[in-house]
Symmetry: C2
Subunit: 430 residues, 2 copies
């Protein structure tokens, strides 16, 4: 089942500057683990060959930040800024997930959408609702995708329906959730998910930090996204000098943790992220849409901070990581044009690496077609956009991303070596 060879035009990022391309190559998968790319048919192990000649074979995309309940209103209400957008639309939508019937319908659409996207692994926010979050985990488990999923915590500054009222109650629900889902899924795991400091009391944050350590879990949250949000955090937590310390003081940073956005992280906060090994989820579409700002990714890369991309649905309008690649490059170009001429814009190669190998490292050996890596791949029929001339494989990869081929040209997808082809039958393709 998960041992085979794919023949096709293969590409992946060896590092941020090097996109490896092999035309008419053989990508070997054994027991869900990549065995590397073979160029000569004579060297191949004795495994069945899936012929995708002429198609692009790329690593699956990694989404380090996406809100499942916001999928329901993606692409709407984009005229508002973060805090208004949260209060006017987002919180109201998330409140609906108390209703398991609604949650079931909406999360099924989310799971279906993610399954037929280019994404193979994601870090997912649910809502405060324990049962709905468990439903979300069930549905994601059935897709075959790999995901960390968080029951969201919030015990202050939240609308009535999303306020867990006390740190104690929020902790109880979280512990129960962890107990109920422990070891339940092969591919779907819990991650501690305080929404962000404005909605989480110090007591709750302290409890969640302890819980994460106790269970060996990571933490996902938001950091330095919007100037108003940052001011609110500094007002709420008077003993910190900058926002990131609000997570650090509860032991929430580290190599299993992801902080989304980090647009306004100054030198000290960047150093904290770097030294703790925390991942930054760069979400350029969301940051543009919610007019949050433009993160200085070149500076972060130069500091050696670990970075991946995040769709941040529904601040980002869709689950397309291809779209994030294009927007990450665009944002970096505007940073270079207007803010810092020395901050070289991201190359396509660098942005593709962020979306695959760099973000993938959060999940272990993921995001490259090298021996020992878990086998996640997408197959793209890029001839769906005709071209009057021969293109290099590197050009075809860039073109498939800029022309949003994840929306209409994926013909197969593999996670840990298992095909998700049922999502790409003609009737399943939107």
């Amino acid at each position: 089942m998960n041992s085979f060879i794919i023949k096709g035009d293969i590409a992946y990022s060896k590092n941020k500057d090097e996109l490896v391309t092999v035309g008419d190559g053989y990508l070997v998968c054994r027991d869900g683990i990549c065995q590397g790319i073979y160029e000569d048919v004579a060297d191949l192990p004795d495994l069945p060959v899936v012929d995708h000649s002429g198609k692009l074979v790329l690593p699956g995309m990694i989404d380090l930040h996406i809100h499942a309940p916001q999928y329901a209103f993606r692409g709407t209400h984009m005229d508002e800024e973060l805090m208004d957008w949260l209060n006017d639309y987002t919180f109201k939508e998330e409140a609906k997930y108390a209703d398991l019937e609604y949650a079931s319908a909406a999360y099924q659409m989310f799971a279906d959408g993610l399954k037929r996207s280019a994404t193979t692994r994601a870090c997912v926010f649910g809502t405060i609702h324990r049962e709905a979050t468990e439903l979300l985990m069930d549905k994601l488990a059935k897709t075959g995708l790999v995901a960390f999923v968080g029951k969201v915590n919030q015990d202050r500054n939240s609308p009535e329906e999303l306020d867990e009222k006390s740190a104690e109650h929020s902790m109880e629900e979280t512990e129960l959730w962890l107990k109920e889902t422990a070891g339940k899924y092969e591919n779907v795991k819990p991650i501690i998910t305080p929404r962000f400091i404005p909605t989480c009391s110090d007591e709750l944050m302290e409890g969640l930090g302890s819980l994460a350590r106790e269970h060996g879990l990571g933490v996902q949250s938001h950091l330095s996204e919007n100037p108003n949000e940052i001011q609110l955090v500094l007002d709420l937590v008077p003993d910190i000098e900058f926002y990131g310390q609000g997570y650090e003081k509860h032991g929430m940073l580290g190599p299993k943790s992801i902080m989304a956005h980090c647009i306004y992280s100054a030198e000290e906060e960047r150093m904290l992220l770097k030294e703790s090994g925390t991942y930054v989820a760069h979400c350029p579409s969301s940051n543009l849409n919610l007019r949050s700002g433009m993160a200085q990714i070149r500076k972060y890369l130069n500091s050696g901070i670990k970075i991946g991309l995040g769709s941040d649905v529904a601040g980002g309008e869709s689950e397309s990581i291809f779209g994030e690649i294009a927007n990450a490059i665009r944002v970096s170009k505007m940073i270079q044009r207007y803010h810092d001429a020395d901050a070289k814009a991201l190359t396509f190669s660098e942005a593709f690496w962020l979306a695959t190998a760099s973000g993938g490292s959060f999940f272990g050996s993921v995001g490259k077609f090298e021996p020992g890596f878990e086998f996640d791949a997408i197959v793209i029929d890029d001839a769906k956009q005709p071209c009057p001339q021969e293109l290099s494989i590197a050009d075809r990869v860039e073109r498939s991303v800029y022309l949003a081929m994840d929306r209409y040209a994926i013909i197969d997808k593999y996670v840990k070596g298992y095909s998700l082809s049922s999502a790409f039958t003609p009737s399943a393709i939107i």
Copy 2:
């Protein structure tokens, strides 16, 4: 043939602030001219009804700036800035259009792509090659789309293959082109197209300005796109104080003219554009991709300058005007965030108006579903992106744009009342 009624969920921009929406409405077309929207079936004229119930019926998109020969390499080579991008890729590609066999294959792909896009009318650059440009006009005429097409002029600072060598030769070719295409097409018309001042001598510009007046033609060109380009223009034309004067002095500005980009137009240039009635083609995707900059569209709107959107393929990666709507909003949000807090970001309503009624006015009474307007429309099956809740029609329009439904959910399209449905059969849809 072009008299009928469409039933569906109808929306259009009455003005920049008002998106009119009519659910289950009847849009009446007689002899290719819109007769308005009817809400009551009892009032309908006796015409056949095309039932698109539940689908969105929107005005066709207007693309005020697109380069047909660059379609062949759209979505590639995005790592370079304007002047390098022109020299390293664009000019080399355009040189190929001396070969009519290549031009025929490539322009057929362009015509097919534009036909199945959301665009109904476009202002199109060809290359310097007269015969290839005529081929392009032939192919566009066969699509049913409406277009202004320009044979490009350049007689200096151009690579050997794209240098027409003298103003005299460039003029001769242009006059011959005008003669050969005069009155030949119902929907495709010529427009005078000096590439931009760096590649056009004063003598050529003067000749082209006279030719435009003589034939009552408009002019399309580029203005104030990139700081290096602007400096080059001021060096080349010492008697002008700002770039726009380089067109004005040859009588090239006016209500039939379009200047693409205008990112760095200062107060005086803006006033010149406003007073001359010249259209600005705002091309946000291209301006981001080529790191040209972010045009201050709010300032332009406040000045009363006429503005539409342009895809600027292949600076813009695709022909999608839906993509330009989203990026126009994003750029305006970053202008507000970083450059001018008083420059209110574009609303969705405003950007949709730019793409339809505002740009459409360049073509006459185009871009609205009001009596007397030419009947251009697209029909979108937005249920292809499922949603667990009822959405307003306005939300559905916003969602269809942000979720790039022009790439996979258009099911029919009308230009001057004629259906282009052959582009949207299952086999034609990419």
